[in-house]
Amino acid sequence: MKLTWRVWVLVFVLSFALMSVLNLPRSYIALVGLLVIAIPVSLTFIKSKNLLILSLILIAVLIILIPLFTFSKGVIVTSVSPSSVAFSEGLRKGMVISEINGMKIKSPADFFNVINSTVEFEGSKKFDIQTTTERVIFLTNTSLDISVANIPKTNLKTGLDLSGGARAMIRPANVSLNSNELSDLVAVTSNRLNVFGISDVNVRPVSDLVGNSFLLIEVAGITPDDLRELVGQQGKFEAKVSNETVFIGGERDITSVCRNDATCAGVENCQKDSSGGYFCNFRFSVYLSESAAKRHAQITQNISLDSSNPKYLSEKLNLILDDKEVDSLFIGAELKGRVTTQIQISGSGKGQTQEDAYNDAKNSMNKLQTILITGSLPYKLEIVKLDSASPSLGKEFTKNLIYLGLIVFVIICSVLFAKYRRIKITLAVILTVLSEALITLGIASLIKWNLDAPSIAGIIAGMGTGVNDQIVIIDESISEEQTSLKGKIKRALFIIVGAFFTIFAAMLPLFWAGAGLLRGFALTTLIGVSVGILVTRPAFADILKKIEE
């Protein structure tokens, strides 16, 4: 059996797509690639039928088994807090942890078991983490601040609407930014999210048809409230005593902020409040620069002691964030006029249960620390769009989309078979349409496209166009006309190419309209129809010629 070059192209593209979709080690990708190529080779060169069937079965079994055995074992690091010890020791997002303290890690559950069962020694825990590339050993007295997940079987990434997370579009209120200022804003925003402890972020400037520019922020695993407070804020932090500014947030006045060290930062004093809920206090130290410390001395110099409570000064230190008072602190009498570089900041959180209150306080502390470290933006921000999706609903959607795909697939198969009553033709259509979808997915994972719901609609619509085009080819070629088969298929291709260009032209404006938020829909459709016209349709026409002969 000889294959035409068009069918060869299809086989090659298909195997590349498969490899880019599956998350396999490179060496095995090469092996599987060779095996896939072995299929057409054996089809071409092995003449004996029994031998051919045997070799095809062998190749198929190998292709299926190799991925099953070679998916790497362990858990993948999805985020590491940049302020954690693990981070400074070199652990990064994307690494694969295979062993901790000599114990094999096969799932996130294993990971948490080992972490929790590690015994503390003199107030800190020792961790010996073996990743696929390196070994990290460290001691820490706080939580690890690492999140892990099972290693994904594929390289496909789903959009936030299917995987859960939040997306915000922000723009400065009342000012328009040039490209430099916009990239500053990108930097500050990414930094804030990183300092806050989220590394899986995607921050990029986007612009729309009429030239408005926005900042688009996509974060997995964050609540809309957190996102709103982290990126929607100007972050103007001021510490004032009797209306004079002592220091502001940012590196000019603040040299460092104590974070993951229980001796100078933490939540404490959880108590019941009068309304039946709970509240917790937090405190952390900040270290001021020389100039800010001198300013503190100058300002407090002229303040008298509080007559009713002479342990403190009569004026308080007011902490103001974006023109709203966060807290006001007593200033100890001994600090009057002193050049002090260490200041303790405090605040509180509340909630229905003690745990809620603790978490609220911890979260508020983390946000305040973030703002203090990253400093303020020179303008106010406005959130113009905010979407969030819960991971559980996303899972439900993904499951339903897969069900839907299967049902649609079965329906299309039955309709095609009912019409043509020929297994070979039906199979050929189904195989080409499936390979089209697979190639589209392959390209999507190659360009690391996040597949959101509209993108999946685009893939399905592309498959629909595929089926339609195949019907055109079949009907042209089986018509009882006198023209040669070649001529018939040529005419079919004219119709198909015409339809391709119209859908291409029609979807093109979506790349720019609405800040490109619907780009996924246009992109997957266009990839699908382009793959159809360039790879699968020509191959299908050849396969059909073979069947007709």
Binding site: M169, E396, N468, P509
Partner: protein, 314 residues
């Protein structure tokens, strides 16, 4: 089909099955009646245009916009929530609020409850939390918020995109056929598709989202493929009579559209718990496909037939 069929195409005679299928069309004289058939879609189109005109006069817009195009918040609460109390309390607290439910395929249980309102998300979250009596966690809900100015902006851009898309499609069609009347026929059919679909969307009271308008762009591309098929078969094929060619194109084209239609139906009747954007795209495409059946095989076919008769193409 006309009665010349049997003499002109001997292969048709030999196939009894085909003969039976064609018997209806034999009794129906397409040559005489195609102009009458042309009146039906024209009437529908005028009706749709009048309806849209009245709709615009009443509401100041051609569509009903959802919060992604008009500004506001959509809050989706996960799980099987007893919503009767929530609904009544929300109605008393907010002026403009609407509700929907999503349910699972296999169990039929409610998986989510959707609240839409024009208030900002912080406010809506707080009101809902107050009624429910607990704080919402990330797992519990999804929120979508669009600021009013941005949504307005998006809306206008998408309309511009729709116009550009239509123009680009027209250019491609003119380039393909390079003759005036057949090209205009295809473009006119696509236009009628859009108008009728929009009319159906409004009649059903569907609120359009950004994804919905994107679906209209796709419809522009999707609906013309049967028109291209028809025009190519009618003009570029030399064998058989014109009627046979049109009928042949109809058999292929309607099968294409019907396959597509049965493929989108499960998204509404079997699998219900799907993302809104996804459902809306599919829904508009299926309405558009219905309109396409009418506009390709009555409007476009009629014009092509008329054109060929005038030009003497047999």
């Amino acid at each position: 089909m006309d009665n010349q069929n049997t003499t002109q195409d001997p292969e048709l005679v030999s196939e009894n099955i085909k003969k039976e299928k064609n018997s209806f069309f034999k009794n129906f004289n397409y040559n005489k009646n195609y102009k009458i058939l042309l009146v039906i879609p024209l009437f529908l189109l005028i009706l749709s245009l009048v309806y849209l005109g009245i709709f615009y006069f009443k509401t100041g817009d051609f569509i009903i916009r959802d919060v992604s195009l008009s500004g506001g918040t959509t809050l989706t609460l996960n799980g099987n929530i007893d919503s009767t109390q929530l609904e009544s309390q929300l109605k008393s607290k907010l002026d403009d609020v609407s509700f929907r439910k999503l349910s699972d395929i296999s169990s039929g249980k409610n998986i989510a409850f959707i609240i839409e309102s024009s208030v900002p998300p912080e406010e809506l979250e707080k009101i809902v939390e107050d009624i429910l009596g607990f704080q919402l966690k990330q797992e519990d809900y999804s929120v979508e918020f669009s600021g009013p100015s941005l949504s307005d902006n998006f809306y206008h851009q998408l309309i511009i995109a729709l116009l550009i898309s239509f123009c680009l499609m027209s250019v491609v069609i003119f380039f393909l056929f390079r003759t005036f009347v057949p090209s205009i026929a295809v473009i006119f059919a696509a236009f009628a598709d859009l108008v009728m679909t929009l009319c159906l969307v409004n009649l059903l009271g569907i609120k359009l989202s950004t994804a919905g308008i994107a679906a209209f762009l796709m419809l522009i591309g999707y609906s013309v493929d049967t028109d291209i098929l028809l025009t190519t078969r009618a003009l570029k094929k030399s064998e058989g009579t014109l009627n046979q060619r049109i009928f042949g194109a109809f058999k292929t084209g309607s099968f294409m559209t019907i396959t597509a239609l049965v493929a989108v139906l499960p998204a509404f009747f079997i699998v219900t718990g799907l993302p809104d954007s996804f459902r809306q795209i599919f829904f508009i495409l299926s309405l558009g496909l219905f309109a396409d059946l009418v506009n390709t095989w009555l409007t476009n076919a009629g014009i092509i037939k008329w054109y060929c008769d005038k030009k003497g193409i047999k």
